[in-house]
């Protein structure tokens, strides 16, 4: 029985790592530069498709496509920010929601148009392995995703804290007008932030494709959980997102086993509501970013 309990913990933590991974980009975009990006899931889906096609057409492993994907989506992020987000940055949140929702629909239906509704899966026999350590099973793709998620979080954290550009982005998050007053090029830094946000999302996509199938609606599956994690984590705290992700992963794992698989979402939403009732600013929120 102890093995079961420990295995459930391993499953939950690795799942939590995946959840944190998919919400890093949104943490930056929604949490830090405060843009409600409802197309988050769709960018994840597009990155998954990109890595899928790199594998299907050229036999390239998603772990290589990861780097290319990050670069491509960084530039896509800058373009999206410039053309779509910047014009509405001062508008009420509702406008942002509608704009990004519209973008989400366009991207989903675009994917449907080009690639049809069929689910795509990559086949990498080498990755379909798991290691057994101390009687516990660790799936390779999930462990890799967890490690890379931690790496990205660490890198992003350092970038935001220690570099000039990172500090400029944090300044923007605090007060847009004040930033302009002190000479920060707001437009440029928003672009960079959005670009980095999408680049992180693209990395997540590359790490998900060995685990999940992709179809035009795959992004919808992950979008809600990403928002939950960003809010629960404190609206822009990368460490908070990681903690929130792991909490939710563990809760799902244990409640799915001991209660019912149907209740796992109900349970984590209850916890989400509880956290917000007790600490409305999220797990780590309320402090200076």
């Amino acid at each position: 029985m102890e093995t079961i309990i420990l295995q459930l913990a391993v499953n939950g933590i690795l799942l939590g790592g995946l959840y944190a991974l998919i919400s890093i980009g949104l943490t930056l975009i929604f949490g830090i530069i405060d843009v409600v990006n409802f197309a988050h899931g769709e960018f994840l889906m597009l990155s998954m498709y990109f890595c899928y096609w790199m594998w299907a057409l050229f036999g390239v492993s998603p772990y290589f496509s990861l780097l290319l994907s990050i670069l491509i989506f960084f530039f896509i992020g800058r373009i999206v920010q410039k053309l779509l987000i910047w014009p509405i940055i001062e508008e009420p949140m509702l406008n942002q929601i509608f704009t990004t929702l519209g973008l989400s629909l366009i991207l989903m239906n675009g994917a449907l148009l080009f690639w049809k509704a069929d689910s795509r899966a990559i086949r990498m026999p080498g990755l379909a392995q798991s290691a057994e350590i101390l009687n516990l099973r660790f799936s390779y793709p999930r462990v890799i995703a967890f490690i890379i998620a931690l790496t990205i979080i660490a890198l992003l954290f350092t970038f935001l804290k220690k570099t000039r550009m990172g500090r400029a982005i944090r300044a923007l998050a605090q007060d847009r007008r004040a930033s302009m007053l002190v000479g920060i090029n707001v437009d440029y830094h928003y672009q960079v932030a959005f670009g980095i946000g999408l680049a992180c999302t693209a990395a997540a996509g590359a790490l998900l494709i060995p685990i999940y199938n992709v179809s035009p609606t795959t992004g919808q599956l992950f979008c809600l959980i990403a928002f939950v994690i960003v809010v629960m984590g404190g609206f822009g705290y990368l460490q908070g997102s990681l903690i929130a992700g792991i909490i939710i992963g563990l809760v799902e794992s244990y409640s799915g086993f001991f209660l019912s698989i149907h209740l796992k979402e109900a349970v984590y939403f209850m916890i989400f509501v509880l956290v917000l009732l007790i600490k409305p600013s999220g797990i780590m929120g309320g402090k200076e970013r």
Partner: protein, 418 residues
């Protein structure tokens, strides 16, 4: 002048008599084919029609019935509302003698009351919903499996083959049921559970899950704890793929895995898991099996059908076409000859009398329709779906024994041995 008037009058009367087709017996037997020829179900309806047409051509070439050829009249059931009006049209305007349909459950459910009201014999070839035959209709007969019979074919396979081959008994076997929770999964799961309980099998786990889930690890852990010998499942593409991956990750092994449709019935299964898909069983219809298990007339008909289909359409025979052909086989070889006419009551009596054993149709099964008073009145209770085993990227029939192309390989080796 008087003679001229008499002549003209006689010609007038004769021409009325000749032109009035009701006075003379109809030249053809008119059979309405009610299925979706356009709209979302069009692929299935059109394919179904190819099978019906081939069967009808084969019969007409031999002279038809009672000196008359069969004429097929199409009714395009685009959606349930139009299915109703087309059914009305076939009956009241085209004056068909009977109807074959429908290749879609919602269309069949909507249109069949129209035929019942008008006392027209309705032969269902290929819709699956149980409720189509649960209304006690007198003139509605379904030759193919309903959802319940398709599902419990898995249990027949377990009963006849899996339990003995695994050296288990009905008392010792441990069965787990894992189904996605939409209508298909729920009704399949319910039917299988009931049938397992009938035989007294020990169901160690019975779980439904939402197919849009992003994690099945708690379920896999539950399965590990339950230690089933056999797992019966209905899974679609994304959840089926996720489950198989997570079962491997967590090293959950069963001696037999039986899919009842969904991903396990698709070539996607072998595409996604080139080697790991082996040993899994799937329940489903098919035309590739040991034909010596069929009676000789059916063998000949099957061969002729496949030959004509390939000549006219494509290499791979579509299952809906085969279902259309099969329904007509029942009609033209068993029901109509026994009935002697297309009168609905005669057809009905003939259908209820039928007692055709195994090997009597191109899907292997015979026919015995559930009698009036039975909860599934009009359903062919002998219909089932075959069990096939995936091996090397192909599915091969392993049950029933008479139609099996090879022995099933049991137990399924553990993950690290595959």
């Amino acid at each position: 002048m008087k003679k001229l008037m008499v002549l003209l009058f006689t010609m007038f009367v004769l021409s009325i008599l000749i032109l009035n087709v009701n006075i003379f017996a109809s030249e053809t037997i008119k059979i309405g084919v009610l299925c979706p020829f356009t709209g979302p179900g069009a692929l299935m309806g059109q394919e179904g029609y190819t099978g019906i047409k081939i069967a009808t051509d084969m019969v007409n070439e031999k002279g038809g019935f009672w000196g008359k050829k069969i004429e097929l009249v199409k009714g395009d059931a685009v959606d349930p509302k139009i299915a109703i009006s087309e059914c009305e049209r076939l009956i009241t305007v085209e004056k068909v003698d009977l109807i074959i349909g429908t290749f879609s459950s919602s269309l069949a459910f909507a249109a069949t009351p129209v035929a019942e009201r008008n006392k027209i014999f309705y032969l269902e070839a290929a819709s699956m919903a149980n409720n189509i035959n649960e209304r006690g209709f007198k003139y509605l007969f379904r030759v193919n499996t309903n959802s319940r019979l398709s599902a419990i074919s898995a249990v027949y396979f377990v009963r006849d083959v899996v339990i003995p081959k695994l050296d288990l008994t009905p008392e010792t076997v441990r069965i787990a049921l894992l189904f996605e929770d939409s209508e298909a999964g729920t009704s399949t799961g319910e039917a299988i559970k009931k049938e397992c309980e009938k035989y007294g099998y020990n169901i160690v786990l019975n779980e439904h899950y939402n197919r849009a889930t992003i994690d099945l690890s708690p379920l896999v852990m539950k399965l590990k704890v339950a230690e089933p010998d056999i797992l019966i499942a209905l899974q679609y593409i994304d959840d089926g793929t996720l489950y198989w991956r997570q079962a491997k990750d967590l090293d959950f092994n069963v001696k037999a895995f039986i899919g009842t449709g969904g991903i396990h019935a698709m070539s996607t299964w072998a595409d996604t898991f080139p080697k790991l898909s082996d040993y899994a069983f799937v329940i489903g219809p098919g035309l590739e099996y040991n034909v010596s298990g069929l009676n000789s007339e059916v063998q000949a008909a099957r061969e002729e059908y496949i030959k004509r289909y390939r000549e006219e359409y494509q290499e791979v025979v579509d299952i809906h076409s085969a279902l259309g052909f099969s329904a007509c086989y029942f009609l033209y070889n068993y029901i109509m000859p026994e009935a002697g006419s297309t009168d609905a009551d005669a057809l009905r009596e003939a259908a209820l009398k039928l007692d055709v054993p195994e090997g009597g149709s191109i899907f292997g099964y015979g026919v015995k329709f559930a009698p009036p008073g039975h909860p599934e009145a009009g359903q062919n209770l002998r219909a089932y779906r075959m069990a096939k085993q995936w091996m090397g990227g192909n599915r091969v029939v392993v049950w029933p024994e008479e139609l099996a192309l090879k022995e099933p390989v049991l137990p399924m080796p553990e993950w690290d041995e595959r």
